[in-house]
Protein backbone atom coordinates (compact mmCIF):
# COMPACT_ATOMS: atom_id res chain seq x y z
CA UNK A 1 0.00 0.00 0.00
CA UNK A 2 0.96 3.63 -0.36
CA UNK A 3 2.77 5.75 2.18
CA UNK A 4 0.63 7.88 4.51
CA UNK A 5 1.97 11.13 3.07
CA UNK A 6 0.85 10.14 -0.39
CA UNK A 7 -2.50 9.07 0.94
CA UNK A 8 -2.91 12.43 2.64
CA UNK A 9 -2.07 14.22 -0.57
CA UNK A 10 -4.53 12.09 -2.50
CA UNK A 11 -7.23 12.86 0.02
CA UNK A 12 -6.59 16.58 -0.24
CA UNK A 13 -6.66 16.39 -4.04
CA UNK A 14 -9.88 14.45 -3.90
CA UNK A 15 -11.49 17.02 -1.61
CA UNK A 16 -10.54 19.84 -4.00
CA UNK A 17 -11.77 17.97 -7.09
CA UNK A 18 -15.16 17.46 -5.45
CA UNK A 19 -15.44 20.78 -3.63
CA UNK A 20 -14.73 23.19 -6.47
CA UNK A 21 -17.51 22.11 -8.86
CA UNK A 22 -19.89 21.50 -5.94
CA UNK A 23 -19.44 25.01 -4.57
CA UNK A 24 -19.77 26.47 -8.04
CA UNK A 25 -23.04 24.66 -8.71
CA UNK A 26 -24.46 25.48 -5.28
CA UNK A 27 -23.79 29.19 -5.73
CA UNK A 28 -24.75 29.59 -9.38
CA UNK A 29 -27.35 26.88 -9.87
CA UNK A 30 -29.11 26.14 -6.56
CA UNK A 31 -28.96 29.52 -4.86
CA UNK A 32 -30.65 31.31 -7.79
CA UNK A 33 -33.67 29.01 -7.38
CA UNK A 34 -34.00 30.05 -3.76
CA UNK A 35 -33.86 33.67 -4.87
CA UNK A 36 -36.61 33.00 -7.42
CA UNK A 37 -38.77 31.29 -4.81
CA UNK A 38 -38.27 34.23 -2.48
CA UNK A 39 -39.15 36.84 -5.09
CA UNK A 40 -42.22 34.89 -6.20
CA UNK A 41 -43.80 35.58 -2.80
CA UNK A 42 -42.42 39.09 -2.39
CA UNK A 43 -44.24 42.37 -2.60
CA UNK A 44 -42.78 44.80 -5.13
CA UNK A 45 -41.92 48.07 -3.44
CA UNK A 46 -41.17 50.34 -6.33
CA UNK A 47 -38.00 48.89 -7.82
CA UNK A 48 -37.03 46.82 -4.79
CA UNK A 49 -38.66 44.02 -2.85
CA UNK A 50 -39.89 44.18 0.69
CA UNK A 51 -38.23 41.89 3.18
CA UNK A 52 -40.04 38.64 3.78
CA UNK A 53 -39.37 38.64 7.49
CA UNK A 54 -39.27 41.82 9.52
CA UNK A 55 -38.92 42.73 13.14
CA UNK A 56 -41.91 44.84 14.00
CA UNK A 57 -42.28 46.22 17.52
CA UNK A 58 -40.26 43.35 18.91
CA UNK A 59 -42.24 40.65 17.11
CA UNK A 60 -41.43 38.89 13.86
CA UNK A 61 -43.73 39.73 10.99
CA UNK A 62 -43.93 37.61 7.89
CA UNK A 63 -44.77 39.33 4.69
CA UNK A 64 -45.57 36.66 2.14
CA UNK A 65 -47.70 37.30 -0.92
CA UNK A 66 -49.31 34.33 -2.56
CA UNK A 67 -51.45 36.37 -4.94
CA UNK A 68 -49.28 35.38 -7.90
CA UNK A 69 -49.83 31.69 -7.26
CA UNK A 70 -53.55 32.24 -6.82
CA UNK A 71 -53.62 33.99 -10.16
CA UNK A 72 -51.75 31.08 -11.77
CA UNK A 73 -54.34 28.63 -10.53
CA UNK A 74 -57.39 30.77 -11.17
CA UNK A 75 -56.54 32.41 -14.47
CA UNK A 76 -57.54 30.10 -17.32
CA UNK A 77 -54.94 31.62 -19.59
CA UNK A 78 -52.03 30.44 -17.46
CA UNK A 79 -53.53 27.05 -16.94
CA UNK A 80 -54.23 26.44 -20.62
CA UNK A 81 -50.72 27.67 -21.46
CA UNK A 82 -49.23 25.09 -19.10
CA UNK A 83 -51.39 22.40 -20.64
CA UNK A 84 -50.51 23.32 -24.20
CA UNK A 85 -46.78 23.46 -23.35
CA UNK A 86 -47.03 19.92 -22.05
CA UNK A 87 -49.04 18.87 -25.09
CA UNK A 88 -46.60 20.26 -27.66
CA UNK A 89 -43.62 18.88 -25.76
CA UNK A 90 -45.28 15.45 -25.68
CA UNK A 91 -46.18 15.53 -29.38
CA UNK A 92 -42.61 16.56 -30.21
CA UNK A 93 -41.20 13.75 -28.09
CA UNK A 94 -43.38 11.18 -29.84
CA UNK A 95 -42.43 12.56 -33.26
CA UNK A 96 -38.73 12.46 -32.37
CA UNK A 97 -39.06 8.90 -31.12
CA UNK A 98 -40.95 7.83 -34.24
CA UNK A 99 -38.33 9.30 -36.58
CA UNK A 100 -35.34 8.77 -34.33
CA UNK A 101 -35.76 5.16 -33.23
CA UNK A 102 -35.63 3.57 -36.70
CA UNK A 103 -32.92 6.08 -37.61
CA UNK A 104 -30.72 5.11 -34.68
CA UNK A 105 -31.53 1.43 -35.24
CA UNK A 106 -30.41 1.43 -38.86
CA UNK A 107 -27.36 3.51 -37.96
CA UNK A 108 -26.35 0.96 -35.35
CA UNK A 109 -26.86 -1.92 -37.80
CA UNK A 110 -24.98 -0.26 -40.67
CA UNK A 111 -21.54 -1.55 -41.63
CA UNK A 112 -19.08 -0.70 -38.82
CA UNK A 113 -16.84 1.14 -41.26
CA UNK A 114 -19.50 3.71 -42.19
CA UNK A 115 -20.88 4.18 -38.66
CA UNK A 116 -18.42 6.93 -37.61
CA UNK A 117 -19.35 8.92 -40.71
CA UNK A 118 -23.08 8.45 -40.07
CA UNK A 119 -22.60 9.55 -36.47
CA UNK A 120 -20.58 12.58 -37.55
CA UNK A 121 -23.37 13.60 -39.93
CA UNK A 122 -25.88 13.58 -37.05
CA UNK A 123 -23.57 15.64 -34.83
CA UNK A 124 -22.59 18.14 -37.50
CA UNK A 125 -25.76 20.28 -37.36
CA UNK A 126 -24.94 20.85 -33.65
CA UNK A 127 -21.95 22.82 -34.79
CA UNK A 128 -23.96 25.13 -37.02
CA UNK A 129 -26.09 27.65 -35.24
CA UNK A 130 -29.34 26.28 -33.84
CA UNK A 131 -30.88 29.73 -34.12
CA UNK A 132 -30.09 29.96 -37.82
CA UNK A 133 -31.42 26.48 -38.55
CA UNK A 134 -34.72 27.32 -36.87
CA UNK A 135 -34.80 30.59 -38.78
CA UNK A 136 -34.27 28.64 -42.02
CA UNK A 137 -37.54 26.78 -41.45
CA UNK A 138 -39.28 30.11 -41.42
CA UNK A 139 -38.20 30.61 -45.00
CA UNK A 140 -38.95 27.02 -45.97
CA UNK A 141 -42.49 27.05 -44.59
CA UNK A 142 -43.73 30.47 -45.65
CA UNK A 143 -45.73 30.69 -48.85
CA UNK A 144 -43.70 29.46 -51.83
CA UNK A 145 -40.96 28.10 -49.58
CA UNK A 146 -39.46 24.76 -50.66
CA UNK A 147 -41.02 22.73 -47.88
CA UNK A 148 -44.36 24.50 -48.20
CA UNK A 149 -44.45 23.79 -51.94
CA UNK A 150 -43.51 20.14 -51.44
CA UNK A 151 -46.16 19.65 -48.76
CA UNK A 152 -48.82 21.34 -50.87
CA UNK A 153 -47.85 19.37 -53.98
CA UNK A 154 -48.18 16.08 -52.10
CA UNK A 155 -51.54 17.16 -50.73
CA UNK A 156 -50.24 16.68 -47.19
CA UNK A 157 -51.63 20.04 -46.14
CA UNK A 158 -55.15 18.60 -46.37
CA UNK A 159 -54.11 15.82 -44.01
CA UNK A 160 -52.54 18.31 -41.61
CA UNK A 161 -55.64 20.47 -41.69
CA UNK A 162 -57.85 17.44 -41.07
CA UNK A 163 -55.73 16.49 -38.04
CA UNK A 164 -55.98 20.04 -36.78
CA UNK A 165 -52.29 20.88 -36.91
CA UNK A 166 -52.92 23.74 -39.34
CA UNK A 167 -56.03 25.91 -39.54
CA UNK A 168 -56.55 25.54 -43.30
CA UNK A 169 -54.77 23.87 -46.24
CA UNK A 170 -51.92 25.98 -47.60
CA UNK A 171 -51.31 27.78 -44.33
CA UNK A 172 -48.26 26.25 -42.69
CA UNK A 173 -46.35 28.99 -40.90
CA UNK A 174 -47.21 30.14 -37.35
CA UNK A 175 -49.31 27.05 -36.68
CA UNK A 176 -49.01 24.12 -34.29
CA UNK A 177 -47.52 22.24 -37.25
CA UNK A 178 -44.64 24.66 -37.80
CA UNK A 179 -43.97 24.73 -34.05
CA UNK A 180 -43.85 20.94 -33.69
CA UNK A 181 -41.80 20.61 -36.87
CA UNK A 182 -39.26 23.15 -35.61
CA UNK A 183 -38.96 21.49 -32.20
CA UNK A 184 -38.76 18.00 -33.72
CA UNK A 185 -36.06 19.19 -36.08
CA UNK A 186 -34.04 20.84 -33.32
CA UNK A 187 -34.27 18.04 -30.77
CA UNK A 188 -34.07 15.02 -33.09
CA UNK A 189 -30.30 14.56 -32.59
CA UNK A 190 -30.86 14.52 -28.80
CA UNK A 191 -33.12 11.51 -29.36
CA UNK A 192 -30.90 9.77 -31.91
CA UNK A 193 -27.60 9.96 -30.00
CA UNK A 194 -28.56 8.15 -26.76
CA UNK A 195 -30.57 5.60 -28.75
CA UNK A 196 -27.66 4.95 -31.07
CA UNK A 197 -25.17 4.56 -28.24
CA UNK A 198 -27.56 2.11 -26.60
CA UNK A 199 -28.45 0.10 -29.73
CA UNK A 200 -24.88 -0.13 -30.98
CA UNK A 201 -23.81 -1.80 -27.72
CA UNK A 202 -26.48 -4.49 -27.96
CA UNK A 203 -25.31 -8.08 -28.04
CA UNK A 204 -26.47 -9.30 -31.45
CA UNK A 205 -26.15 -12.93 -30.39
CA UNK A 206 -29.39 -12.41 -28.48
CA UNK A 207 -31.16 -11.90 -31.81
CA UNK A 208 -29.57 -15.05 -33.19
CA UNK A 209 -30.78 -16.90 -30.12
CA UNK A 210 -34.28 -15.53 -30.66
CA UNK A 211 -34.18 -16.60 -34.32
CA UNK A 212 -32.97 -20.08 -33.32
CA UNK A 213 -35.90 -20.32 -30.98
CA UNK A 214 -38.23 -19.58 -33.88
CA UNK A 215 -38.92 -15.87 -33.54
CA UNK A 216 -39.34 -13.93 -36.77
CA UNK A 217 -37.22 -10.80 -37.19
CA UNK A 218 -40.26 -8.67 -36.41
CA UNK A 219 -41.10 -10.55 -33.22
CA UNK A 220 -37.45 -10.52 -32.13
CA UNK A 221 -37.33 -6.77 -32.69
CA UNK A 222 -40.30 -6.11 -30.42
CA UNK A 223 -39.49 -8.68 -27.75
CA UNK A 224 -35.69 -8.36 -27.60
CA UNK A 225 -34.36 -5.17 -29.17
CA UNK A 226 -36.98 -2.69 -27.96
CA UNK A 227 -37.03 -3.83 -24.30
CA UNK A 228 -33.23 -3.83 -24.21
CA UNK A 229 -33.12 -0.25 -25.50
CA UNK A 230 -35.43 1.00 -22.75
CA UNK A 231 -32.70 3.09 -21.12
CA UNK A 232 -31.95 4.80 -24.43
CA UNK A 233 -35.63 5.51 -25.06
CA UNK A 234 -36.04 7.07 -21.61
CA UNK A 235 -32.88 9.16 -21.89
CA UNK A 236 -33.74 10.40 -25.38
CA UNK A 237 -37.34 11.20 -24.46
CA UNK A 238 -36.31 13.20 -21.39
CA UNK A 239 -33.65 15.06 -23.37
CA UNK A 240 -36.39 16.11 -25.79
CA UNK A 241 -39.38 16.55 -23.50
CA UNK A 242 -37.95 18.63 -20.66
CA UNK A 243 -36.34 21.44 -22.67
CA UNK A 244 -39.33 21.51 -25.04
CA UNK A 245 -41.70 22.34 -22.17
CA UNK A 246 -39.84 25.59 -21.54
CA UNK A 247 -38.76 26.30 -25.11
CA UNK A 248 -38.78 29.98 -26.03
CA UNK A 249 -36.91 30.64 -29.29
CA UNK A 250 -38.78 28.14 -31.47
CA UNK A 251 -42.32 29.21 -30.44
CA UNK A 252 -41.26 32.81 -30.89
CA UNK A 253 -39.94 32.26 -34.43
CA UNK A 254 -42.21 29.47 -35.72
CA UNK A 255 -45.23 29.43 -33.42
CA UNK A 256 -48.37 31.49 -33.78
CA UNK A 257 -51.19 32.97 -31.77
CA UNK A 258 -52.64 29.47 -31.24
CA UNK A 259 -49.48 28.02 -29.82
CA UNK A 260 -49.07 29.45 -26.35
CA UNK A 261 -46.00 28.12 -24.59
CA UNK A 262 -45.03 28.75 -20.99
CA UNK A 263 -41.51 29.86 -21.88
CA UNK A 264 -42.95 32.70 -23.89
CA UNK A 265 -45.31 33.68 -21.06
CA UNK A 266 -42.38 33.84 -18.64
CA UNK A 267 -40.42 35.95 -21.11
CA UNK A 268 -43.31 38.38 -21.60
CA UNK A 269 -44.00 38.72 -17.87
CA UNK A 270 -40.37 39.55 -17.34
CA UNK A 271 -39.40 41.66 -20.34
CA UNK A 272 -42.71 43.26 -21.40
CA UNK A 273 -44.71 43.51 -18.18
CA UNK A 274 -41.66 43.89 -15.90
CA UNK A 275 -43.57 41.86 -13.34
CA UNK A 276 -40.71 40.04 -11.66
CA UNK A 277 -42.69 38.33 -8.88
CA UNK A 278 -45.15 36.99 -11.45
CA UNK A 279 -42.34 35.79 -13.72
CA UNK A 280 -40.85 34.03 -10.70
CA UNK A 281 -44.15 32.38 -9.83
CA UNK A 282 -44.44 31.16 -13.43
CA UNK A 283 -40.88 29.80 -13.15
CA UNK A 284 -41.58 27.95 -9.90
CA UNK A 285 -44.70 26.43 -11.44
CA UNK A 286 -42.69 25.38 -14.50
CA UNK A 287 -40.08 23.72 -12.31
CA UNK A 288 -42.86 21.80 -10.55
CA UNK A 289 -44.09 20.69 -13.96
CA UNK A 290 -40.76 19.21 -14.98
CA UNK A 291 -39.53 18.01 -11.61
CA UNK A 292 -40.68 14.41 -12.12
CA UNK A 293 -39.18 14.03 -15.62
CA UNK A 294 -36.07 15.76 -14.27
CA UNK A 295 -35.76 13.21 -11.47
CA UNK A 296 -36.18 10.36 -13.96
CA UNK A 297 -33.50 11.89 -16.14
CA UNK A 298 -30.97 12.45 -13.39
CA UNK A 299 -31.52 8.92 -12.09
CA UNK A 300 -30.82 7.60 -15.55
CA UNK A 301 -27.71 9.80 -15.81
CA UNK A 302 -26.52 8.53 -12.44
CA UNK A 303 -27.11 4.92 -13.47
CA UNK A 304 -25.18 5.37 -16.68
CA UNK A 305 -22.25 6.77 -14.71
CA UNK A 306 -22.30 3.86 -12.27
CA UNK A 307 -22.14 1.37 -15.11
CA UNK A 308 -18.67 0.03 -15.67
CA UNK A 309 -17.77 -0.65 -19.27
Amino acid sequence: MTKPSLRGRLRRGRAAVIAIPTLWLLVFFMLPFLVVMKISVSEMDGATFQDLVRLQDGSIAFNLKFANYLLLVQDDLYFSTYLSSLKYAAVTTVACLFIGYPFAYFMARARPTVQPALLMLVMLPFWTSFLLRVYAWKGLLTENGWAANAIDALGLDHVLAAVGLIPAPGQLMNTPFSLVLGMTYTYLPFMILPLYSNLSKMDLRLLEAAADLGATAWVAFWTVTVPLSRAGIIAGSMLVFIPCVGEYVIPELLGGPQTQMIGRTLWDEFFSNNDWPMACAVTVAMVLLIIVPLAVFSRYQAESTERRP
Partner: protein, 286 residues
Amino acid sequence: MSTRARRGGQNLTRWFGRGWLGAGYLFLYIPIVALVLYSFNDSSVPNVWQGFTVKWYRALASDRELLDGLWLSLKIAFVTATSSVVLGTLAAFALVKYRRFGGRTLFAGMVAAPLVMPEVIIGLSLLLMLVSVQRALGFPERGMVTIWLGHLLLGMAYATVVVQARLQTLNAQLEEAAMDLGARPWEVFHLVTLPMIAQALLSAWLLTFTLSLDDVVLSAFLSGPGATTMPLVIFSRARLGLNPSVNAVATLIVLAVSIGVVVASWLIARQERQRALDIAAAARPT
Protein backbone atom coordinates in the same frame (compact mmCIF):
# COMPACT_ATOMS: atom_id res chain seq x y z
CA MET B 1 -39.65 -19.74 -42.80
CA SER B 2 -37.82 -20.62 -46.00
CA THR B 3 -34.35 -19.24 -46.53
CA ARG B 4 -35.45 -17.41 -49.65
CA ALA B 5 -38.29 -15.67 -47.86
CA ARG B 6 -35.96 -14.69 -45.04
CA ARG B 7 -33.37 -13.32 -47.45
CA GLY B 8 -36.11 -11.39 -49.25
CA GLY B 9 -37.18 -9.94 -45.91
CA GLN B 10 -33.61 -8.92 -45.12
CA ASN B 11 -33.30 -7.18 -48.46
CA LEU B 12 -36.51 -5.30 -47.87
CA THR B 13 -35.32 -4.27 -44.40
CA ARG B 14 -32.01 -3.10 -45.80
CA TRP B 15 -33.66 -0.88 -48.41
CA PHE B 16 -36.19 0.41 -45.93
CA GLY B 17 -33.30 1.27 -43.60
CA ARG B 18 -31.40 3.10 -46.30
CA GLY B 19 -34.51 5.03 -47.25
CA TRP B 20 -35.20 5.98 -43.63
CA LEU B 21 -31.62 7.15 -43.06
CA GLY B 22 -31.64 9.09 -46.34
CA ALA B 23 -34.90 10.83 -45.51
CA GLY B 24 -33.64 11.59 -42.01
CA TYR B 25 -30.44 13.18 -43.23
CA LEU B 26 -32.42 15.13 -45.83
CA PHE B 27 -34.59 16.48 -43.02
CA LEU B 28 -31.51 17.44 -40.97
CA TYR B 29 -29.69 19.17 -43.83
CA ILE B 30 -32.38 20.83 -45.95
CA PRO B 31 -32.52 24.02 -43.84
CA ILE B 32 -28.74 24.38 -43.99
CA VAL B 33 -28.67 23.95 -47.77
CA ALA B 34 -31.54 26.41 -48.15
CA LEU B 35 -29.75 29.04 -46.07
CA VAL B 36 -26.59 28.74 -48.16
CA LEU B 37 -28.43 28.91 -51.50
CA TYR B 38 -30.61 31.85 -50.56
CA SER B 39 -27.64 33.83 -49.29
CA PHE B 40 -26.69 34.23 -52.98
CA ASN B 41 -30.20 35.22 -54.03
CA ASP B 42 -30.43 38.61 -55.72
CA SER B 43 -33.88 39.41 -54.38
CA SER B 44 -35.19 41.10 -51.30
CA VAL B 45 -38.23 38.81 -51.43
CA PRO B 46 -36.57 35.85 -49.80
CA ASN B 47 -38.41 32.99 -51.45
CA VAL B 48 -38.19 34.04 -55.07
CA TRP B 49 -34.98 33.24 -56.89
CA GLN B 50 -33.83 36.25 -58.90
CA GLY B 51 -30.28 35.35 -59.85
CA PHE B 52 -26.85 35.15 -58.27
CA THR B 53 -25.34 37.91 -56.16
CA VAL B 54 -22.80 38.46 -53.42
CA LYS B 55 -24.24 41.80 -52.35
CA TRP B 56 -25.44 40.48 -48.99
CA TYR B 57 -21.88 39.56 -48.13
CA ARG B 58 -20.65 42.99 -49.11
CA ALA B 59 -23.35 44.53 -46.91
CA LEU B 60 -22.17 42.33 -44.06
CA ALA B 61 -18.70 43.87 -44.10
CA SER B 62 -20.13 47.27 -43.13
CA ASP B 63 -22.72 45.95 -40.68
CA ARG B 64 -21.25 47.38 -37.47
CA GLU B 65 -23.98 46.03 -35.20
CA LEU B 66 -23.43 42.47 -36.37
CA LEU B 67 -19.63 42.67 -36.41
CA ASP B 68 -19.49 44.11 -32.89
CA GLY B 69 -21.84 41.37 -31.78
CA LEU B 70 -19.65 38.74 -33.40
CA TRP B 71 -16.51 40.05 -31.67
CA LEU B 72 -18.22 40.04 -28.28
CA SER B 73 -19.63 36.56 -28.89
CA LEU B 74 -16.21 35.21 -29.84
CA LYS B 75 -14.63 36.63 -26.69
CA ILE B 76 -17.35 35.18 -24.47
CA ALA B 77 -17.24 31.82 -26.27
CA PHE B 78 -13.47 31.57 -25.84
CA VAL B 79 -13.58 32.27 -22.11
CA THR B 80 -16.65 30.06 -21.66
CA ALA B 81 -15.16 27.08 -23.47
CA THR B 82 -11.89 27.25 -21.54
CA SER B 83 -13.49 27.59 -18.12
CA SER B 84 -16.18 24.99 -18.92
CA VAL B 85 -13.55 22.40 -19.78
CA VAL B 86 -11.68 23.05 -16.52
CA LEU B 87 -14.78 22.80 -14.31
CA GLY B 88 -16.28 19.99 -16.39
CA THR B 89 -13.11 17.93 -16.09
CA LEU B 90 -13.10 18.37 -12.31
CA ALA B 91 -16.75 17.32 -12.13
CA ALA B 92 -16.18 14.35 -14.42
CA PHE B 93 -13.25 13.22 -12.25
CA ALA B 94 -15.36 13.53 -9.13
CA LEU B 95 -18.10 11.40 -10.72
CA VAL B 96 -15.94 8.71 -12.30
CA LYS B 97 -12.99 8.36 -9.92
CA TYR B 98 -14.73 8.86 -6.60
CA ARG B 99 -17.68 6.54 -6.54
CA ARG B 100 -18.71 7.36 -3.00
CA PHE B 101 -18.86 10.71 -1.28
CA GLY B 102 -21.44 12.56 0.74
CA GLY B 103 -23.98 14.28 -1.48
CA ARG B 104 -22.93 12.43 -4.61
CA THR B 105 -26.53 12.02 -5.78
CA LEU B 106 -27.23 15.71 -5.39
CA PHE B 107 -23.94 16.49 -7.09
CA ALA B 108 -24.70 14.24 -10.08
CA GLY B 109 -28.16 15.77 -10.35
CA MET B 110 -26.86 19.31 -10.27
CA VAL B 111 -24.24 18.57 -12.90
CA ALA B 112 -26.72 16.95 -15.28
CA ALA B 113 -29.72 19.24 -14.75
CA PRO B 114 -28.57 22.18 -16.94
CA LEU B 115 -28.46 19.77 -19.91
CA VAL B 116 -32.23 19.59 -19.99
CA MET B 117 -33.39 22.47 -17.80
CA PRO B 118 -35.24 25.01 -19.98
CA GLU B 119 -32.92 27.92 -20.53
CA VAL B 120 -35.54 30.49 -19.55
CA ILE B 121 -35.47 29.05 -16.02
CA ILE B 122 -31.68 29.12 -15.75
CA GLY B 123 -31.48 32.59 -17.26
CA LEU B 124 -34.16 34.18 -15.10
CA SER B 125 -32.99 32.70 -11.82
CA LEU B 126 -29.33 33.46 -12.39
CA LEU B 127 -30.17 37.01 -13.41
CA LEU B 128 -32.31 37.65 -10.34
CA MET B 129 -29.59 36.33 -8.06
CA LEU B 130 -26.96 38.47 -9.73
CA VAL B 131 -29.23 41.51 -9.45
CA SER B 132 -29.60 40.86 -5.72
CA VAL B 133 -25.84 40.52 -5.37
CA GLN B 134 -25.30 43.68 -7.33
CA ARG B 135 -27.70 45.61 -5.12
CA ALA B 136 -25.84 44.46 -2.05
CA LEU B 137 -22.24 44.70 -3.23
CA GLY B 138 -22.28 47.00 -6.27
CA PHE B 139 -21.06 44.36 -8.71
CA PRO B 140 -21.19 42.53 -11.12
CA GLU B 141 -22.45 44.90 -13.76
CA ARG B 142 -24.75 43.20 -16.29
CA GLY B 143 -22.74 42.50 -19.41
CA MET B 144 -19.98 40.26 -20.59
CA VAL B 145 -19.19 38.76 -17.18
CA THR B 146 -22.79 37.88 -16.36
CA ILE B 147 -23.33 36.33 -19.81
CA TRP B 148 -20.20 34.29 -19.26
CA LEU B 149 -21.46 33.01 -15.90
CA GLY B 150 -24.66 31.78 -17.56
CA HIS B 151 -22.90 30.15 -20.48
CA LEU B 152 -20.44 28.50 -18.11
CA LEU B 153 -23.28 26.81 -16.25
CA LEU B 154 -24.53 25.25 -19.47
CA GLY B 155 -21.06 24.58 -20.90
CA MET B 156 -19.88 22.85 -17.75
CA ALA B 157 -22.72 20.33 -17.98
CA TYR B 158 -21.88 19.45 -21.58
CA ALA B 159 -18.14 19.33 -20.90
CA THR B 160 -18.75 16.99 -17.96
CA VAL B 161 -20.70 14.54 -20.12
CA VAL B 162 -18.02 14.47 -22.83
CA VAL B 163 -15.06 14.08 -20.45
CA GLN B 164 -16.94 11.60 -18.28
CA ALA B 165 -17.63 9.34 -21.26
CA ARG B 166 -13.92 9.28 -22.06
CA LEU B 167 -12.82 8.71 -18.45
CA GLN B 168 -15.09 5.70 -18.18
CA THR B 169 -13.40 3.92 -21.04
CA LEU B 170 -9.97 4.72 -19.64
CA ASN B 171 -7.77 1.94 -18.38
CA ALA B 172 -7.26 2.83 -14.71
CA GLN B 173 -4.38 0.36 -14.46
CA LEU B 174 -2.15 2.76 -16.38
CA GLU B 175 -2.59 5.38 -13.68
CA GLU B 176 -2.08 2.81 -10.94
CA ALA B 177 1.08 1.61 -12.67
CA ALA B 178 2.43 5.16 -12.82
CA MET B 179 1.71 5.57 -9.12
CA ASP B 180 3.43 2.29 -8.30
CA LEU B 181 6.45 3.56 -10.21
CA GLY B 182 6.55 6.54 -7.83
CA ALA B 183 4.78 9.31 -9.76
CA ARG B 184 3.10 11.94 -7.63
CA PRO B 185 -0.68 12.42 -8.13
CA TRP B 186 -0.16 15.61 -10.09
CA GLU B 187 2.47 13.91 -12.29
CA VAL B 188 0.12 11.00 -12.90
CA PHE B 189 -2.53 13.45 -14.02
CA HIS B 190 -0.49 15.46 -16.48
CA LEU B 191 1.83 12.72 -17.72
CA VAL B 192 -0.62 9.81 -17.97
CA THR B 193 -4.25 10.89 -17.69
CA LEU B 194 -4.13 14.18 -19.55
CA PRO B 195 -2.63 12.85 -22.80
CA MET B 196 -5.21 10.06 -22.81
CA ILE B 197 -8.19 12.40 -22.45
CA ALA B 198 -6.76 15.23 -24.60
CA GLN B 199 -9.02 14.44 -27.52
CA ALA B 200 -12.13 14.49 -25.32
CA LEU B 201 -11.02 17.81 -23.82
CA LEU B 202 -10.65 19.25 -27.31
CA SER B 203 -14.10 18.13 -28.42
CA ALA B 204 -15.60 19.40 -25.16
CA TRP B 205 -13.91 22.75 -25.79
CA LEU B 206 -15.26 22.95 -29.34
CA LEU B 207 -18.75 21.92 -28.28
CA THR B 208 -18.97 24.49 -25.48
CA PHE B 209 -17.45 27.14 -27.73
CA THR B 210 -20.20 26.68 -30.31
CA LEU B 211 -22.89 26.42 -27.61
CA SER B 212 -21.84 29.77 -26.24
CA LEU B 213 -21.51 31.32 -29.69
CA ASP B 214 -25.08 30.25 -30.45
CA ASP B 215 -26.93 31.01 -27.24
CA VAL B 216 -29.90 33.39 -27.32
CA VAL B 217 -31.95 32.90 -24.18
CA LEU B 218 -29.28 33.07 -21.47
CA SER B 219 -27.63 36.00 -23.23
CA ALA B 220 -30.92 37.86 -23.48
CA PHE B 221 -31.53 37.59 -19.75
CA LEU B 222 -27.97 38.28 -18.66
CA SER B 223 -26.81 40.94 -21.11
CA GLY B 224 -26.77 44.58 -20.22
CA PRO B 225 -26.68 47.78 -22.23
CA GLY B 226 -23.94 47.67 -24.83
CA ALA B 227 -23.42 43.92 -24.52
CA THR B 228 -25.36 42.61 -27.51
CA THR B 229 -24.03 39.29 -28.73
CA MET B 230 -24.34 38.17 -32.33
CA PRO B 231 -27.22 35.71 -31.71
CA LEU B 232 -29.18 38.52 -30.04
CA VAL B 233 -28.71 40.69 -33.15
CA ILE B 234 -29.71 37.82 -35.43
CA PHE B 235 -32.68 36.90 -33.24
CA SER B 236 -34.08 40.42 -33.19
CA ARG B 237 -33.85 40.53 -36.99
CA ALA B 238 -35.26 37.04 -37.49
CA ARG B 239 -38.21 37.90 -35.26
CA LEU B 240 -39.21 40.68 -37.62
CA GLY B 241 -39.17 38.46 -40.70
CA LEU B 242 -36.86 37.00 -43.28
CA ASN B 243 -33.63 38.87 -43.69
CA PRO B 244 -31.02 38.15 -46.39
CA SER B 245 -28.11 39.34 -44.24
CA VAL B 246 -28.93 36.53 -41.80
CA ASN B 247 -28.56 34.01 -44.63
CA ALA B 248 -25.11 35.36 -45.43
CA VAL B 249 -24.01 35.06 -41.78
CA ALA B 250 -25.33 31.50 -41.71
CA THR B 251 -23.35 30.56 -44.80
CA LEU B 252 -20.16 31.93 -43.31
CA ILE B 253 -20.75 29.91 -40.14
CA VAL B 254 -21.39 26.75 -42.17
CA LEU B 255 -18.17 27.41 -44.07
CA ALA B 256 -16.17 27.93 -40.86
CA VAL B 257 -17.62 24.75 -39.32
CA SER B 258 -16.90 22.68 -42.43
CA ILE B 259 -13.28 23.85 -42.46
CA GLY B 260 -13.00 23.16 -38.75
CA VAL B 261 -14.42 19.65 -39.08
CA VAL B 262 -12.16 18.76 -42.02
CA VAL B 263 -9.06 20.02 -40.20
CA ALA B 264 -10.05 18.29 -36.95
CA SER B 265 -10.74 14.93 -38.58
CA TRP B 266 -7.45 15.19 -40.51
CA LEU B 267 -5.57 15.86 -37.26
CA ILE B 268 -7.32 13.02 -35.47
CA ALA B 269 -6.65 10.60 -38.33
CA ARG B 270 -2.98 11.61 -38.33
CA GLN B 271 -2.74 11.12 -34.59
CA GLU B 272 -4.36 7.68 -34.80
CA ARG B 273 -1.91 6.67 -37.54
CA GLN B 274 0.97 7.88 -35.40
CA ARG B 275 -0.31 5.93 -32.43
CA ALA B 276 -0.66 2.78 -34.54
CA LEU B 277 2.95 3.25 -35.70
CA ASP B 278 4.11 3.76 -32.11
CA ILE B 279 2.34 0.62 -30.96
CA ALA B 280 3.82 -1.35 -33.84
CA ALA B 281 7.29 0.02 -33.03
CA ALA B 282 6.91 -0.83 -29.33
CA ALA B 283 5.74 -4.35 -30.11
CA ARG B 284 8.65 -5.09 -32.44
CA PRO B 285 11.30 -7.24 -30.71
CA THR B 286 14.63 -5.45 -30.49
